[in-house]
Amino acid sequence: MLWIKNGVVVDPKNRINAEKMDLFVKDGKIVEESKVKKGDCKVIDASGKLVVAGGIDMHAHIAGGKINTGRVMRPEEMRVVRNIAGKFRATVGRVLLTAPAIGYEYAKMGYTMSFEAATPPITSPHTHEELDAIPIIDKGALPVFGNWHLVFKCIEEKNLEKLKSLIAWTIERSKGFGVKIVNPGGVEAWMYGGNVKGLDEQVPGFAVTPREIITWLMRANEELNLPHSIHLHCNNLGIPGNYQTTIESIKLANGLKNEKRQILHVTHVQFNSYAGNSWRDVASGAAEIAKIVNSMDNVTIDMGQAIFGHATAMTGDAPFQFTLHKLIGARWSNKDTEVETGAGIVPIGYLPSNPVHTLQWAIGLELGLLIESDKVVLTTDYPNGGPFTEYPYVMAMLMSKKMREGELKRVHQYVQKATTLPSIETEKTLYEVIHMTRSLPARVMGLDKKGHLGIGADADIAIYDLNPLTTDFSNEFDRVYKAFKVSEFTIKDGDVVAKKGELVKEVFGKTFWVDASKKVDVEAVIPDVKSYFDFYTVQFSNYGVDERWLKKSKRIEVI
C-alpha cells in the first residue's frame, strides 16, 4: 500500500488541474482513502511536486524484426554503455537501445507504457519474444494489414464479414492490439519495384486501391468495435507535396462515428505534411493539416517530431526507405515479409544546419501547436524522428515560446520562410501537455484504466520535481525540461521502480492484446487463410503466438 501525500495533481481525464491532493494505492490500483490503513502505507512525500499518470507512448518501434535488423546493421549505436550488469541488466545503445534499456529508459523518464507500432502477423513470435524482454513498462503490438494479400482478397470480393473474421483471427493469433496500415498498397507495389502515388491508383496484381483498403479496414474495425481505431501511416510518406494525400486520407473518416474514441488515427504526421514539388522548394503543409484535423471530430494524429541528433529510419514503408537511401546515400536494409508486407531500415541524423531536417523539426512542432490538444499525441516515432528520451524537450518547447525563439536562432533559417513556426504564439499549458502524453493516448488506444489517476485506474504514476503552481513555464523552460527528463519517482502497478533517475526495482509489465474472436465467425475465413499457406514458409499450426507463451498476458475481450 502506498500513500502519495500532498502532491500537486494534474489529471486531465478527471478534470483535475494542479490541485493539492493525496493518492492511495492498493494492489496495483488507485483506491479511495477509506480502502487503505494509513498506518500500513508506505508514504511518499510529494509536497510541491507534480503528480501525473505514467506516460504512454502510443507509437514507437521497440520490438520485432525491424529494430533488431537496425541493431544488427548499426553496431556503432551499441557503443554507448548505459548500465553495467549488476542488480539490473546490462544495457547499451545510443538511440537504438537494447530491449532492457528500452524499459529502463522509459521508466526513468516516468513513462509506463509503450506500443510497438508495426509487426507483421507472421513475425509476431519474434515481436512478443522481444516485448517479453522489455522490463517495467506495459506493452502492446499493432499487427499490419495494409498490404496483406488476404486483406486484398477480402476487399476484392467485397466481403466485409470475411474481412472482419480475418482481422479478429489475426489479432487473436498474433496477440496484437489493433489494425495498423502502412502505406496501403504501396508496399505490395514495392514487391515489383514500384509504389502507389495516390489513393486511387490500383495496386499491382489486385483490383483494389489504397482508398478501398483504408475504408474497408475502417469499416471492419468499427463493426468489430475494437478498442483502438485503425492506425494509418499514409501513402506518399516523406515525399514533398504529400500533405494533400494526407488530407484526402483524413477525409475518409467522414460520416463515421464512435462515442468512445476516434475513427481514424493518423500516425507520425510530420513525415506526411510536406508541401512543395521537390526537396528544393519543400515547405510545411502543417497548417493545412491542422485545419482539417481541427475541423473533424473523429480523427486524431500523433506528431512524429524530429529531434536533432542521431536516429534510425525504420518503417514497414519499404519503398520510402529505398527513396531515403537513394536520397542521403546511407546504408539500407530491405525486408520482404512473405505475402504480408515489407520493411526497410536506413540510418539518419537530423542536423540543425540542414534546411530539410530543420523543416521536419519545425513541422512536428507546428502540428503540436496548431492542432487542438485533444487531437494530437506527442511522439517522435522512435527511432525514426529521434529518441523517446527527448520527449521532455518537445514538452518544454510546446509550453514555451521563448524556448522556441532561442532554438529558432540556432537552426537553418530556411524555416523562417518555409514554415509558420516563427509566427506561432501559442503556448500549451501543462494541463494540455499532460493530456497529450497521458490521457489522450490512453483514450486513443481505448484503455480506460491507463493515463489517469481516478479511482480504479492502474497505479502507474510519475512524480516530477516541478511545482506547477509556482513554475513559470514560458520562462523556466530549462528547469521544466530537466524536471521531465528524470522523474522523482516512477511507480508501476504500485511498485516504486525508479527514483531520481536511478532504477530501484525491476518488475515486468503486461502485454495487452485484444480478443474479438467471439464477435464474429472466425471459422468463415479459415479455409481462405489455409489456402494461403501454400505461399508461406511456415505451417498453419505454427502461425502466431499462444497466450501461454507471453510472460504476463492481459487479454481485452471485445463483446
Binding site: M73, R74, P75, E76, E77
Partner: protein
Amino acid sequence: MLIIKPKKYFEVCVEAEITPDLALKKVEEVKKFKVFYGNKIVELGELFEISKEGEDKKIVLGGDFSRVKWVGTRMVDGEILVKGSIGTNCGAFMRGGRIIIEKDADDWLGTEMAGGEIIVKGNAKNLVGCAYYGDAVGMSAGKILIEGNAGNYVGDKMSGGEIIIKGNAGDFIGMEMRGGVIEIHGSCGFVGGDMRGGEIRIKGSFEVLPTFKKTEKGWVGDVNVKGEGVVKNF
C-alpha cells in the same frame, strides 16, 4: 623508458590501453593501471613485470604480447617498441607518435588512425587501417609500414594517410576508399570495390573489378559510385 613483460601465459585476452604517457609515471603508479583480464578488472602489476630505465617517453614491451589488445590506443606522442607480436586493435584511434612491432601484428592494426606511424617488421593480419564496423571513415592520416604480408580488408573506408606493404596482401584492398595511398610491393586479390578516391599502387598482380575503366592514369573507378579512385601498377 618503461619496460613491461608478461608474468605468465594469458588464459584469456588482456585488454590494456597502454600508451607512452605511462612512461612518465612512477613504477608504483603504473602497476596500479587498470586493465581487463577477461571480464575482470585487474591491475597492470598483477599480470606484468614493470621496470623503468630513464625518463624518456618510451615503452618497451618484451615477451609475447599476442594476447594483449588495444596497445597504443589513442596515443598522441612518444614511442612503443614491441619486441614480439602484438594483439588486436593495436594503435586504434592513434593521433601521433610511433609504434614499432618486431614480429607480427593481429587484426585491426591502426584502425581509424589519424596520425603517427606504425612499423611492423613481420606480417599483419586483416583490417589494417580500416574503420570499425558502422563507422563512416577509416584511417585519415599517418603511415603504416608492413615489411611482411597483410591479410584482407586493408584500408577499408580510408580517407588519408599511407599504407605500405612490402609483401603480398589479401582480398578487398581499399574498399570504399576516399583518399590516401595504399602501396603493395607484392601481389593481392580484389581491389578498390566502391572506391571513390585515393590511389592503390601494386607491383605484382591483382584482380581488377569489372567496374573500373582503363585510362592513362591506370584503372579508374569504382564507376558504381561515380568514384575517381586510381588502381595501377608501379
